[in-house]
Symmetry: C2
C-alpha cells in the first residue's frame, strides 16, 4: 500500500507526461479520490470535493475521473443500476467483489485458489490473462434475515 503522496506524485507525473495540465481542481479531485479508498460515485466525489473548493463543477469531476481511468489509475464499474462507481487501482491490492443485490453493500475479497484456477482455465484455451473482473451477486447476512421474515 503506497502512501497517498506517492500516488499523487505518480498521477501528476503521468499527467505531465501526457501533456495534461495540473490544475488546482485536478489536485483537489485526485487528492479526494485517493483518500476515499472505496468505491465512489461521481456525485459523492463531487460532494466531498466541494468541501475543498466550492466552485468545482460536476462536469470537471466527470472529466477528471475519466482521465484517471484513461491513465489506468482508476477503474469504472457498474454495480447493478444507478451511477457508475470509480475506484483507485493504485493504492490497493487486487481484489474482487461481493455485491448484495438487496442493499447494495459491497465486500471486497481475494482468493488465490480462484485466481490460480482462472489462469489454468485460460491457459487451457490458449489465453494469457492480463486482468480479470469477478463479481458475485447475492444476499448479505442482514438482507437474508429481512427477506426471510418479510416475504409474503
Amino acid at each position: 500500500m503506497k502512501a497517498p503522496n506517492d500516488i499523487m506524485r505518480r498521477v501528476r507525473d503521468e499527467a505531465r507526461r501526457r501533456g495534461v495540465r495540473w490544475t488546482t481542481q485536478r489536485q483537489a479531485i485526485v487528492e479526494t479520490f485517493i483518500s476515499a479508498d472505496e468505491h465512489i460515485t461521481v456525485e459523492d466525489l463531487h460532494h466531498r470535493v466541494r468541501a475543498i473548493d466550492r466552485t468545482i463543477s460536476a462536469a470537471t469531476v466527470y472529466r477528471t475521473v475519466n482521465m484517471l481511468v484513461e491513465m489506468g489509475v482508476a477503474t469504472k464499474r457498474h454495480f447493478g443500476s444507478g451511477s457508475a462507481t470509480f475506484e483507485c487501482e493504485v493504492n490497493k491490492e487486487h481484489h474482487d467483489h461481493l455485491v448484495c443485490t438487496s442493499c447494495g453493500k459491497i465486500i471486497e475479497f481475494h482468493n488465490d485458489a480462484i485466481e490460480d484456477l482462472q489462469v489454468t482455465v485460460a491457459r487451457e484455451h490458449g489465453f494469457v490473462i492480463s486482468y480479470h473482473r469477478m463479481e458475485l451477486y447475492g444476499s448479505c447476512v442482514d438482507c437474508q434475515k429481512q427477506t426471510g421474515a418479510a416475504e409474503a
Copy 2:
C-alpha cells in the same frame, strides 16, 4: 438446453402464478428474447420485436425485461458503458467469458471448481450467491503470435 416452448411455458406459468397478465406484447417480447440466445440490449430487442408487432413501445420492452429479471428468468448486465444488456438464464448453461483484448474474441467457459470456490468464499462472508459475473481478459493464441512479431 430446453426447447423454447418449454421456456415460454415456464415463464408464462410463473407470470400467472404472480397474477401477471399474459398479453400479446409480453408473448412477443419474451418469445423474441428467448430466441436471441445472447446478450441483448433493450434497443435491440425492441427492434426485433417490432418485426412481430410494429406498435410495441420501448417502454413495454423495458417493463417486460425488468419483469423477467424480477422473475429470475433474465439477467441484466452492464458491459462497460452504454446500455445494459439482458440475457436469458433459462435456455443456456451458465458460463463465464474469456475476452481477448486484442481482437475482441470471446470464448465461453465453465469451471466447476471455480464456481464451488465462489460459493465458499461468499459463504465465508455470510453471502448467499444468486449469480455472478466473471470475465477474464487477456491475449488469445492468435494474438499472442502477432504481438510477438508486430509490437512497435
